[in-house]
Amino acid sequence: MIVAFLNLTWGTFADALALGGIYALMAVGIGLVFGVLRLVNFAYGQLMMAGAFALAYGSQWGLPKWVSILFCFAVVLALSVVMDHLVFRPLRSHSPAVMLVATFAVAFLLQNIALLAFGSLGKTAGQFAELQAPWDIGGVEIRKIAIIAIVTATVCLALLQLLLTRTPVGLHMRAASMDFRTARMLGVRANRVIGGAVLISGLLAAVAAVMLSVQDTQVTSTFALSDTIYVLMGVVLGGLNRPIPATLGGFSIGFAFGLLGGILPSNQSQYLPSFIFAAVIVVLLVRPNGLFTRATGALERV
């Protein structure tokens, strides 16, 4: 088999696919908001962190699992709407650099609030820990969470694709992300489109937060921070403007991290971020508009 060499097992392969799936969800969440707002949301990881803390409280209070998940969704959605109204909307007309630094500020703020409120050790979200256990599928051991993550990511992305291509809201969103001003002139309601994108983006953050918290049961203020950086890399790598290239970019980064992290010995895998970052730089030099785009429109000057 192709996967029989090195340390690569089907389990590792599935884990890599799962991480790619989670990153793809985050990537499309970031990409959607960028499409309508021209805003690279650096605080996306902190949304997920808030969701993970909600899950941790859910397990501390002994809530049923589905209530915990609902609580997580509620927290993430509420926070993204608040963030949108307090920070993103007032800054909508400003330069992308100002908006990026503003999301930096929000990220920093939320991270430090979490640090102040929950301490540096954070809290444990142990409710879904049993999903770490493997399933035996025809003699191949694959962790349950990997399968759940792959299925969930596929379903979410398929639903999103349907929403974007088959509904009026989706059409408006795609129009707005191509040319916001023209779309508005043609009767697309700016606030509704932005609100929709922020909500969907928040939903995806919540889904990703639930998936990631199964692996990182210890939720601290830096939860999902490095993941967000990798996903941002992936999104730009794929091409920020369109959902599908952004998704592919996020997936590639996650898959590469999962796969190489699984097969390399630890004295090499500690430099894995460097290799991936270097690869990102090379790709950007060759294709500054993204790996999976055909359009060569001028990019935003940030």
């Binding site: 690279v40 307090l86 920070v87 007032p90 800054l91 400003h94 330069s95 992308p96 650099a97 100002v98 990026l100 630094v101 503003a102 930096f104 500020a105 929000v106 990220a107 920093f108 703020l109 939320l110 430090n112 609030i113 640090l115 102040l116 921070l225 950086i229 941002l232 890399m233 730009v236 790598l237 920020l240 500690q270 430099y271 971020p273 460097s274 970052f277 270097a278 990102v280 730089i281 950007l284 030099l285 500054p288 508009n289 990019l299 935003e300 000057r301 940030v302």
Partner: protein, 345 residues
Amino acid sequence: MTFIRRIPELLAPAVLVLATALLAFEVSTYLQAYFLDTLVKVAIVVALYVFIGNSGVLSFGTISFVAVGAWTAGVLTVPEGQKRVTMPGLTHFLVTTNVGNVASLALAAGVGAAFALAVGLPLMRLSGLAAGIATFAVLGITYNVLTYEQSIGPGLNAFSSVPQTTGIWQAAVGGLICVVVAYIYQRTRFGRKLRATREDSAAAAAVGISTYRQRLLAFTLSGALAGFAGGIYVHLLPLQVGGLYLDLTFITLAMLVVGGSGSLLGAVVGALAVNGIYSFFSAATNGVDVLGWNLTVPTGTAEIVLGVLMAAVLILRPSGITGGREFSLPRRRAVVDLEKARAPT
């Protein structure tokens, strides 16, 4: 005449740096640490400004040049006996090579510039988000390599036993050097050309300015100043690689944007204002006297205040405190009045 009118442009930021240094002489040794830290931040933010302010391109790479400068100056000044204890993995050449304080700072600037040049050669072709993300990748690589590579430094450990030569004098002179170099650069034709590409890249290209070349020059100069600032920093505190990554990148960028990224004065004002407030609330965790009233705040308040302040300034005044202008004496000119009249009420 123009020359005399221009003098306040350099004088204003320089006087602010000097005033901070003079204040540092007056306060207790405990508070002095905050003033010295502020002066180092001024140097770093001015280094950021040289590239970001003049080119209008966002770069996250500057802190990696600060880190490289700190590593250079640190590794070359720790006494040899200490190196064998605290950095056992260090390569032989670095163990046996030691230089003095000033030489270490010069080398830090040189290594910072060389690294920036090497990075800039390919990366300055990019612009927009691609440039931002690529420089972020550089920052990530630097952090990753410095964390794990024990042959060039202490790895995850803090730099211990670097001679603490950064007192008020060194911090103040370092800050002043950065301010003066940045000012001279922006007054030369190179600085003007780069600013022209910032305002209108097509028009600049039409008059024969190479955006790539001008950006590369500014990036290298910014790298030199950042490396220099890193050298001063490591002579002040036992630095650790974690302190030269995201948080420092965020805080220094915040300073630049809050002050107004379009002007040197903005860089200095932003660094002083933001670090002043941050230091005040950091000091207040141990209690400070405000007009005879003792104020004590929980740990972490400084960061939260800073985050709120940043977001507030960005929303209310996105071009920063100075609005991207240099300091100038008030004069009556129609242009100024026109701009006031145009401002929304």
